[in-house]
Amino acid sequence: MKLRILSAGPGVTLQDEGRRGFLRYGVTPAGPMDADAFLAATGAAGTEAAIEVSLGGVELAAEEGEIGLAICGGNFDVRLDGRPLPAACALTLAPGARLSLRAGPSGAWAYVAPFGRFDLPKVLGSLATHTRSGLGGLEGRGLAAGDALNILDARAGPKAPMALNAPWLGAVSHSFRILLGPQQNHFASETIATFLTSSWRLSARSDRMAYRLDGPPLAHRFGHDIVSDGLAMGAIQIPGDGAPLVLMADRQPTGGYPKIAHVIGADLPALAQKRPGEDIRFTQASLEEAVAARRARARALAESVRLEAITPELTSELLLERNLVGGVVGDFTLLE
């Protein structure tokens, strides 16, 4: 069968867990922005890759047969033939039906995972799309209206749509834990204090490569050049203009701006779900706390995702929530 893209905003791409082993050749890992939601969706669908949906939204249809889909991510407006569904759900898409995901009250990314496999070639061992280098996914680019994705071993999902539930999903956070360094000595202690006590606004100039933060500019002690070295996801670089850049899934493998800190791994999925215009703060953690949080996250992820019947209360609650926030959705444009 085929999944047909009826419409797609900018930044909708195919992702798997990411490209491993090629950092040394300058190849970006890519992979999901929110690894927790990605794993929930692909776990529920029993597959390895998913469509990552940006705030631009997507509309899908099934052709030549029905297919199960698991959806999980930020609090998106999910509808099957116009009927609202929980933002995390599993369903069967039959030919003639139309599934839509649009930006909802919160969250920046959602995942649509098929009960089946994408029939696409792996590039350097992965399906993950990195649009800047044109690698992976469908021809190395974002998905667009008219694209048809061939699905192998397609299976149906639940007959009636069901809510997808995991205790660790959907937590909205405003504060994110960091480990200082490695270049914290490039900043005066007052500058580090400013970094830790300020409220930072996520800039509209943010994308899968980096989240740019607006706030008080952070001054360097020895200029903004260091000898380029490797970059991990969550690294917070301070370029010459003093505006922090949090490096995300499409980060460059190396860079030459000093890194004041790193966001701990357990807090990266929730950070990825922040939207331009939203405010965040950082708090300092120890290495022990970061590893403990990582262990707790790994335990939570090991618990299986539950499928639950959609109750009328749940649906009306969702509708009420949308009515309350309807006025603030949709004025954001994603910059690539």
Partner: protein, 245 residues
């Protein structure tokens, strides 16, 4: 000996460790990075995810729930004690890369030359007259970082990154040089273009210049650039290997 007396172990989050051997671009420091990288590649301890050698540091990505930081550091120290990390690598290959500095190829050349107080002609003379060592790949596919930029061409990176580079960009910034295959935004200056495809995922191997190799840039005019570019587009290697291998 160049670099630090003992390597520094610096956390890059809880799942990556940067092992620094110095804070400068230096062939000896880089050789130690490459040697530790090979040693860890051979050892392959459980929980080691990936290593990324750069100029003066090795980034070790690991899973701390499988390999504790303490055990990783002990393992690295054992490797450093066992293996002499400054042994010379195999004789490096020597490459001559065509480079066009003219017109739209050297889109930031005038700006960079002015920033250095040089005429564009003098800039090209100095840039093409130098011999470069390939230190590492990074930033983007086939972005090959080079040492050996003449001191007179040391210009800081831009305060704010510029837009997309052209394919095959030859760049300077932060006192360093690089030659880059894929277009990316950058804080460096585009001073020329090579028609060579440094990275091609469908070619085996996708990259042919290895860290440790020696490079020179050979100035070509726009007409030659376009002719060589057409040949490179068909899969031909237009870089010339000078050591006869």
């Amino acid at each position: 000996m160049a670099g630090y007396d003992a390597p520094r172990f610096l956390d890059a989050g809880e799942a990556a460790l940067s092992i620094e051997f110095g804070d400068s671009v230096d062939a000896e420091i880089n050789a130690r990075v490459l040697a530790l990288d090979s040693a860890l590649q051979r050892a392959q301890p459980e929980g080691l995810i990936e290593t990324l050698p750069t100029y003066r540091a090795l980034l070790v990505c690991y899973e701390p729930l499988l390999l504790s930081r303490e055990r990783l550091v002990a393992l690295v120290e054992a490797q450093l004690a066992e293996a002499p990390l400054d042994r010379p690598a195999a004789a490096p290959a020597r490459w001559r890369l065509p480079c066009c500095y003219e017109g739209e190829c050297g889109e930031d050349l005038n700006e960079a030359a002015a920033g250095l107080g040089l005429t564009p002609a003098r800039f090209v003379e100095l840039h093409a007259g130098a011999e470069y060592r390939a230190y590492m790949y990074g930033f983007a596919p086939g972005w090959c970082y080079l040492g050996g930029l003449p001191q007179a061409l040391a210009l800081p990176r831009r305060a704010t990154p510029r837009g997309l580079t052209p394919p095959g960009a030859v760049l300077i910034g932060g006192g360093l040089a690089l030659v880059a295959s894929n277009p990316m935004p950058t804080g460096w200056y585009v001073v020329g273009r090579t028609p060579e495809r440094l990275f091609s995922p469908s070619r085996e191997p996708p990259l042919f210049i290895a860290p440790g190799d020696v490079l020179r840039f050979e100035p070509v005019n726009l007409e030659s650039f376009h002719a060589l570019d057409a040949r490179a587009a068909k899969g031909e290697r237009v870089a010339i290997r000078e050591d006869g291998a």
